[in-house]
Symmetry: C2
Subunit: 141 residues, 2 copies
């Protein structure tokens, strides 16, 4: 089975799920090279759209994601990576999961997780470059 990278301009969404707890940790995008690198290394590697380069998750923090298995959806255009997270959390804000906020119908949010680590210690030079995004002007709705 071939992954369908064409439907999203060369990318497939990659959902990362904690293989032990079932918690959804984050979503990134892989191009074909990132997918191959993920399989070859056994560690989740994304393609950073804004930096236009591969980005091995945890390359700065050490919080890598060890691949346990990869599932593919019926259309072949999305992967679900069941992984073992190394370290206390995947989120650059210091949480186990990037989905640490509940979004309510009125647009308000509530933090529903507790901080797992201090991002100022793990990322002493600020937000990791690999996830920092240069937003297009006016990109926020």
């Amino acid at each position: 089975m071939q992954l369908d990278f064409a439907k999203l301009d060369g990318l497939v969404p990659a959902i990362i799920q904690d293989a032990a707890s079932g918690e959804v940790l984050m979503l990134g995008f892989m191009n074909e090279q990132a997918y191959r690198e993920t399989r070859a290394s056994g560690e989740v590697t994304f393609f950073s759209r804004t930096r236009n380069k591969l980005w091995r998750k945890g390359e700065q923090s050490g919080h890598v994601l060890r691949v346990r298995e990869v599932l593919v959806d019926c259309d072949g255009d999305t992967v679900l990576v069941r992984a073992e997270p190394v370290g206390p959390g995947v989120c650059h804000e210091g949480y186990r999961t990037c989905f640490f906020r509940r979004l309510d119908s009125d647009g308000s949010t509530e933090v529903v997780d507790t901080r797992a680590f201090d991002p100022a210690v793990v990322y002493p030079s600020g937000r990791p470059a690999s996830t920092a995004r240069t937003r297009r002007e006016g990109s926020k709705p």
Copy 2:
């Protein structure tokens, strides 16, 4: 908090997770209207990119997804919908989850789930129109 629809041309990926079991069921895309419709109706509504219209999951099969809570990631550009699936499965191929195949490093796949329903009964006229996709010529790698 505003969702960032701009980063992906007006869409955000929406991961659907079974609120009870933690199983990841599918991934779809929402534009702002689909997101609003999801919140207003309490049932997951996607935007079909190929049909260029809203698509309420289960509108044909009755296998709707009742929203339990919505989580948003740190960047505000992906949502995780924890939902109660109504019916035996979300996949048009008859499985509980669209991620019913494991994809191995060599490209081979193995079905790792058992069929939950007969798609020929649920979709007597063939693949549901709302999920059928008109692939661009040569879109398969």
